[in-house]
């Protein structure tokens, strides 16, 4: 191919996408920063950012009234619930991915389809189903009382939100780990045990390090949506406690676009920093291993 046609093709194929990506991926992010650092009449201000870090509200925990930093508390709560959910997903999903990868080809494809079916249901519906299960008058409680086990109050607690997050994002953890494990060279495992490595050590020293890329992408794929969700906390938390996603959505509904942008901006910066850090650690680990 001569140079002229090559550059012509390149221009024809790349230009529409480049323009699109610039207009609708890059420019909108600039708008987030622009709104975050301006007030309602678009004058420059740090006000929105400082408001995130300094705004206070009072919490009445029955005994005393405490003054807390509203948005920092919300952020830490989001982080806590997201980390717990991610960890539970990993704990539940890792063995499953391993079992799947070792199963017969036919079983593998059936299990894969089964895991993906709930993913195809809209997450609103899935969350809603859990709401009706966990309600005080819901299935879980009628089941428990039929067994004379008493009733539990779970809707509106942090546990309910964690259950919702785990259920909604569980497939995102299993699928990447599975796809790495399915490609794993079985001979490596055989070699390790042939050389006298006990099963637990094979898991710890061979399988785990090799599956790390899958684990990392699984963790990011669960952590990011669960840290920024707002529907799950509204439905399963009964709107009693806010997550960072609720804060953004609340400001959007109240038409405080500048403050909504500021929260989104801070969330984005924190997530990007975390991801860069994880990537760096992962690279080093993989090289060492």
């Amino acid at each position: 191919m001569n140079k002229k046609t090559r550059s012509l093709i390149q221009r024809m194929t790349l230009t529409p996408y480049s323009i699109w990506a610039a207009l609708f991926i890059v420019v909108p992010l600039i708008f987030v920063a622009y709104y975050a650092f301006t007030d309602n009449s678009f004058r420059f201000t740090f006000g929105n950012i400082t408001r995130f870090f300094t705004a206070t509200s009072q919490i009445d925990d029955g005994e005393s009234v405490r003054e807390v930093r509203t948005y920092l508390v919300i952020f830490m709560r989001s982080l806590k619930l997201a980390v717990i959910s991610t960890f539970i997903c990993l704990l539940m999903g890792y063995p499953l991915a391993y079992i799947m990868a070792r199963a017969k080809a036919r079983t593998q494809s059936i299990l894969l389809t089964l895991i993906m079916i709930p993913m195809w249901m809209n997450f609103l519906i899935r969350t809603y189903a859990w709401m009706t299960i966990l309600q005080d008058t819901g299935i879980l409680n009628s089941f428990l009382s039929a067994l004379h086990l008493g009733r539990i109050h779970i809707i509106g607690t942090e546990s309910a939100v964690v259950i919702g997050m785990v259920y909604d994002y569980f497939p995102y953890m299993v699928l990447p780990i599975y796809s790495v494990m399915a490609k794993l060279d079985v001979r490596l495992l055989e070699a390790a045990s042939d050389l006298g490595c006990p099963a637990v050590s094979v898991l710890r020293r061979v399988i785990w390090p090799l599956s790390l890329p899958g684990v990392l992408s699984g963790v990011t794929m669960v952590l990011i949506p669960s840290i920024s969700t707002f529907y799950i906390s509204q439905k399963l938390g009964n709107g009693k406690f806010f997550l960072i996603g609720d804060a953004i959505e609340g400001q959007y509904v109240a038409n405080n676009l500048h403050f909504a942008a500021a929260i989104a901006f801070i969330l984005m910066v924190i997530l990007l920093a975390c991801m860069a850090l994880v990537q760096k650690l992962a690279n080093r680990k993989i090289i060492v291993a």
Partner: protein, 279 residues
Amino acid sequence: MKRASKIYTALIMIFLFAPIAILLVFSFNRAKSLSVFSGFSLYWYRELFRDSETLKAVRNTLILAVSASLISTVMGTAAAVGINKLRNKFLRTALDSVTNIPMINPDIITGISLMLMFVFVGRLFGAATSLSFWTMLIAHITFCLPYVILQVLPKLQQMDKALPEAAMDLGCTPLRAFFKAELPEIMPGVVTGLIMAFTLSLDDFVISYFTAGNGFQTLPIRIYNMTKKTVTPKMYALATIIFFVILTLLLISNLSDDESVRKRREARANKKAAKEAVK
């Protein structure tokens, strides 16, 4: 599989499917209760089909998903071809990172960022509300594009580079060479990209929520509005229908996969037999 593995897998499957099973059962409940089953009835299905807003939302969702997935597949495939030919390292890295942004950013940030821009530009032109079907379409195309590119690019890299060049040496114009030689090679990636874009668009709630105008409601937004107020088993009837549509589609695609594998195997066997015969 060992016994313990079987039990473990079964437990996870119960966890995954119990909520869906409950939805299915209670969609046929005669009463409004969501914990006591008082008899079989199709009442909620009739209610659902009388709900013109929901039916309209289904239509809107399909229109949006079809247009967004088609446009993003065409633009994304072209972009993948261009990116694959790109020799400038700096440009390549820049494009790759920009393409990654919608995939790693939380949906809520993608949604908010597009909304802010639409509102700002709308205000610039003096429009009271700038959010409409078109802003939603732009948003959907934007978040579908990276997934299409990600599906097509590996197929291009696996393809024999000499293929389009050979076609052009034999007198094809570059465009014709693309359609005759390149496109059939990368078609599996293009189709997967199209399907992914379609399902992503169909399923999206968060980004749609921020970029939707008042006049245009998609199904996820309709579900959101329905679940905001009262609890109604009408939702369950809707979920049940969606579930069976998905199940049928998955079964069909699995069966056709098996079929194509079988055919390929047969073809290979035939070829072998032919070779033997020549010998």
